[in-house]
Structure formats: C-alpha cells, structure tokens
Amino acid sequence: MVNEAMTVSEPRGAARLKKLYAYYRGALVPFLIAIILIIAGEFVSSGFASPNHVLILLKTASLLGVLVLAQSIVIIAGGEGIDLSVGAIASICAVMAAVVMQGEDAKLLIAVPLVIAVGFFLGLINGIGIAVFSVPPLIMTLGMSSVINGLVIIYSKGFIIRGSASKLLQTIGSGQSLFGIPNMLFVWLVIIVVALFVLGRTKSGITLYGVGANELTAELNGVHAKRVRALAYAFSGAISALAGVFLLGYNGLPFMEMGSPYVLPSVAAAVIGGISLAGGAGNYLGAVGGSVLLTTLTALLVTMRMGEGGKQVVFGLVLIILLAIYGRRTER
C-alpha cells in the first residue's frame, strides 16, 4: 500500500514507479539470487557467466517458465490450488502436435490450435472435478496425469511415437536469431508481457486474485467463484498444451512423459517466486525469477560435476534455505 499523502506530494511518474516497485519487489529476490549463482558459477568454471551461456540458461528456463505460468494461475485461484497434471498435458499435447504435423510447417497451424483446445478441455475436466465435485486439487490433477500419461501409453503401445516438429517450430523452440538471442526468449517475453497484463490489469485477472484471496467476499461481490476456479484449471491446461508445443520444438521429437520432469519444479519455482500456496497473492514476474533461479541452480550443480546424488542433496538443501528465507506461510 502506498501512503496517500506521499502520492499526492510526489510527482505522478515517481509515485507510479514506486507503486510498481512495491508490487514487483518480491520478484526481485529470485533474480538477485540467480545472478549471484551465475557469478558463483563463473568461479567454478569460466564461461558460466558468459553472455552465450546465460542465454542458454534463459532458454532452458523459458520451457519451465511457460509451465510455471500454468501452475501459477491455479495456485493464485486458491482453494489449495495446484496442478500436477501440467506435465502430462504438455506431454500428450506434444505427442498430438507431432503426430498431426509430421514435420510439415503447413500443418503447424492445424496442430497448435488443436492441441490448445485439447489442453483446455483436459484442464476443464480438472476444474469440474475440483470445483463441482470438490475433489482435492492435488489428487484430482494427480489422477488426471495418470489418466493422460496412460492415454499416451495406450496410443503408442509402448513403442516410439511417429511424428516430429516442423522446421518452423524447431526454429522457434531451439533456434536463435538477432545477436544470437534464442527465439524462444522472444516468445517467452511476449508470454510474460501478456500474462502480467491479463493477470494484473484486466477484470478477469483481478477476479482470479479476488477468488483466491477470499472466496466468500468474491461471491458476495457477485463473482461465480466455482466457475472462475474451474476456468483457471482450463486455462492452465491450455497453457500447458502450449508449453508442450514448445517442448516439442525444443526436442524436435516427442517422447513419453516428456513434460513430467517439470511438474514439481514448476510448483517450486512459483513458490520461490513469491506466489503463495494459500492463493490470491504473488505475480508471474516472481515466478519467472523462480524459473531462472531453479534452472541456474541445476546448471551450476551439473557444472560442478556433482553426481546425481550430490546434486539432489544440494538442490533440496538450497530449496529449503530459500523457502526458510522468504517462502514462509504468512497467513497464520
């Protein structure tokens, strides 16, 4: 909250900046820690902080980042919101997109809207189960991910899936252009801007926060809370589908459960980014920072040639420390 008297006495622009700063202040911490990690990485192995490597880090983070948006929306919507099916939806949509486009650019325009619709539909099933049948989100989305991964297994019968990303999609997912900046970063930037605008400036975004912060007050203000929550899961599904398309572009070929490794990191990145698991608080910019931070940490541990065991231990410890510093529950 900005003090009334202060806003009056100060010029409009500065007050506005101050307000923006107050709003996004929480988002700065993960970025700062990520920068510290990058500098630390330079000491471990020279070239870690080189512009090229940082761009590679950001490109890797962007794939996680899109899924984190899907995750953030349902967490913000409250009601113990969480979506453990983002990875499964991304996987099945990547498979579908690959099968439909078969490496042809011309079919990209059919494949993308199709899988986004499928993702929306799958997310809507989550939303209906959660909002209408009151199934706990954790279990509902977990069961869904089992069902969805099961569908992929049924389709492929355990064999390799035939299909691949088109040239254009591969260029978007793993190519680079202007000054060697990966194309995926431009895509991510657009997604970030749109997400921040929709979540922070539009009526739908504010309604989402309202329902997450206090369902009862939202209802009293004439908001259909259950519908909002169900739609949150549907949009989460649609964004997960989009993430699946990018994953396909990044890898070139689809494979089973390609989205699964991103599920729990997506929750962690959101929380590290200041999105409260209680709902109704935090913003996507923080979650973007969380994605960059987690990706950098993983890369740093790989660079240190730590075995899988040591990597897991350090990852867990750092996560606990970060949470202890600024991820505490504040509602009690």
Binding site: E80, I82, G129, F133, S134, V135, P136, L138, I139, M140, L142, G143, M144, S145, S146, V147, I148, N149, G150, L151, I153, I154, K157, G158, L264, V267, A268, V271, L277, G307, E308, G309, G310, K311, Q312, V313, V314, F315, G316, L317, L319, I320, L323, A324, G327, R328, R329, R332
Partner: protein, 325 residues
C-alpha cells in the same frame, strides 16, 4: 430400531464409503481370481500389500495432523539402501544385522524430525518443504548406493514371509503398527494431532504446543514409513535408491480414498489401511481382468478419480443430512 440407529451411525463414519468400495473390489477380485479366498492366496496378497498399507498409515498420521509428506517414497528408498548396504555381509550371523536396523531407525526418525521441523518450527508449506527434503533423501540414497546392489540375509527374508495358516508376519506387523497408533490416539498426543490438524489456531489458543505436536506427528509418520521400508526391503532382498519413489503419491491417494480429509483433522487411520488395500486390489483387478498392460496406468488414474468423486459426493450429502437433523 436400535440396530437401525447403529447402522446409521456406522454409515456416517468417514471411512464408510471406502468400506463399500473395498467390499466391491473384493467381490470383483473374487469373481475374477478363482482361489481368491484360499489361505495361500490371501497370504501372498497381504505380503505384497504390506508396504503400501504401512506407508499409508504413516502418511495418514501426518495428514491428520494438518501436514503432508511428499518425501515418504524417498524415505523408503533411503531406509532400503542403508539396510541393504549395512546387512550385505551379515550372512547367518544374527547379531550382524543390528547395525543395519539401528541405522535405519535413526535415519527414519531423523528424517521425520527434519520434516517436522520445517513444517512446525520453520512454518514452511509442507507440500513444498517435503518436496525439497525428498530430493535430499533421494540424493543421500544415491550417494550411499549409486546403482542397485547390496543384499539382505536370506534368513531375514524368510522370516518376513513366515506364516502359520492365516497368521503371517506381515499381518502381525500391520496389526502391531495399528495398535501403536491406537495407543497414541488414546493419549493426549493423539488428541492434539487431531486438534492441530482441524484447527491450528484454536489448538494453539487452548494451550497446545502446536509446533511440537507437528514435529511428533511427522516423526510418528516416519516410524510407520520405516516399517513399510522394512517390508519392501525384505521382499526385494536388495537395495535400490529408486525402490520407494512410486509410494509417495500412491500413499496420498490411499489416504484420501480412505476418507481422510487432506485438510487434516478428520478421518480414521483404519481408512488409510482400507484405501491401501483398495488401490492394491484395483491393480490386481487390472491384471486378472486381462486388461492389456498399456491400459493399467489409465485405469488406475480413472478409478482413483471416480472413487474420490463418489466419496466426496457421498460425504457432502451426509454432512447436509447431518446439518438438517
């Protein structure tokens, strides 16, 4: 009239829907598997069900106290790996397995302590804190045993599958574990676990040391998880850091199917036992109904969702009729 009232009372218990589902699954299993009620088959089934039953009891205790443990799977892994490495050369020497058991117990209580500390004293959201600790346990397990190996003395493995008619070692362990919970349930700690789980602020206001209760609930949960870890280890007879991974989410599903609210404070641990048996039997069903193996994952998920939606709808109707009466 009295019997009718009794029945009504029973039907209002939170684990009642799970009992109905359990009876249905047993009936389906019996129809598909010819000698389902043969003593041998019952014993074999129980043997394979034991790990999930014990781990679900642990998860249930933690969830009842208002927590959640996403690290139970990797706790099982770490316990398994510690035992397999320390008991590798024990052979027939019975005293040589003691260090293995002791180390496993210390590890289990230590893991429960760390989880409980992050939830109770650091006040971190349990879902994300135990996700972080699960990475630590998994990492430690990998450090101890990077690739599957180690061994458990044969006499221990045989001892675990000991049976006399319907009385078998797994059954004894499950009953003992449940009695431990009943013992705790009847003491102040048991009441406090329910109190903290249903309303932490109110419990605190009534002078309950909520932090300590949380700590104890995680440690008690880890104790049951450890028993589950023993059960898996004696069946696998070797060590593998990936052995426990699938149990985390299945145990949560078992708890919820058993009528225990994820919010905490409501439900009975016996429901988790029913839930674990149901989930195991569903997997059996898929196998015996000759459903192609690629349908397993799909069917498992679909059945979990359906069972939950039914249980929730049932509970909601019940609470409405309670409110009216």
């Amino acid at each position: 009239m009295d019997i009718f009232n009794q029945l009504k009372k029973i039907s209002r218990k939170p684990e009642f829907p799970s009992v109905i589902i359990l009876i249905t699954v047993i009936a389906l299993n019996a129809a598909l598997q010819k000698n389902f009620f043969a003593i041998n088959v019952i014993n074999v089934n129980l043997l394979t069900f034991t790990p999930l039953i014990l781990i679900s009891i642990g998860q249930a205790v933690i969830i009842l106290g208002g927590g959640l443990d996403l690290s139970v799977g990797t706790q099982v892994s770490l316990i398994n790996v510690i035992m397999a490495v320390l008991m590798k050369d024990a052979g027939d020497n019975q005293a040589a397995v003691i260090p293995g058991f002791l180390a496993a117990m210390i590890a289990a209580l230590g893991m429960g302590f760390v989880n409980g500390f992050t939830a109770g004293y650091l006040n971190l959201p349990p879902m994300i804190a135990t996700f972080a600790t699960s990475a630590i346990w998994y990492g430690l397990a990998l450090l101890i045993l990077p690739s599957p190996g180690g061994a458990i003395p044969t006499w221990l493995v045989k001892g675990f599958s000991w049976k006399y008619s319907l009385i078998s070692m797994p059954l004894i362990i499950i009953v003992a574990a449940y009695l431990v919970w009943i013992f705790v349930r009847r003491r102040p700690l048991g009441r406090y676990i329910y109190a903290v789980g249903s309303n932490e602020t109110a419990a605190y206001a009534n002078g309950v040391n909520t932090r300590r209760v949380k700590l104890y609930s995680y440690m008690l949960g880890s104790f049951f998880v450890m028993l589950g870890g023993f059960a898996i280890t004696f069946q696998a007879a070797s060590g593998d850091a990936r052995l426990g991974l699938s149990y985390t989410l299945t145990s949560i599903a078992a708890v919820v199917v058993g009528g225990i609210a994820l919010k905490g404070g409501s439900g009975n641990v016996i429901g988790a036992v029913f839930g674990a048996i149901i989930l195991n039997m569903v997997i059996n069903l898929i196998y015996f109904a000759n459903i192609p193996s690629e349908f397993q994952e799909f069917t498992k998920g679909a059945i979990i969702i359906l069972a939950l939606a039914l249980a929730v709808v049932y509970r909601r109707r019940e609470s409405k009729s309670l409110a009216l009466s």
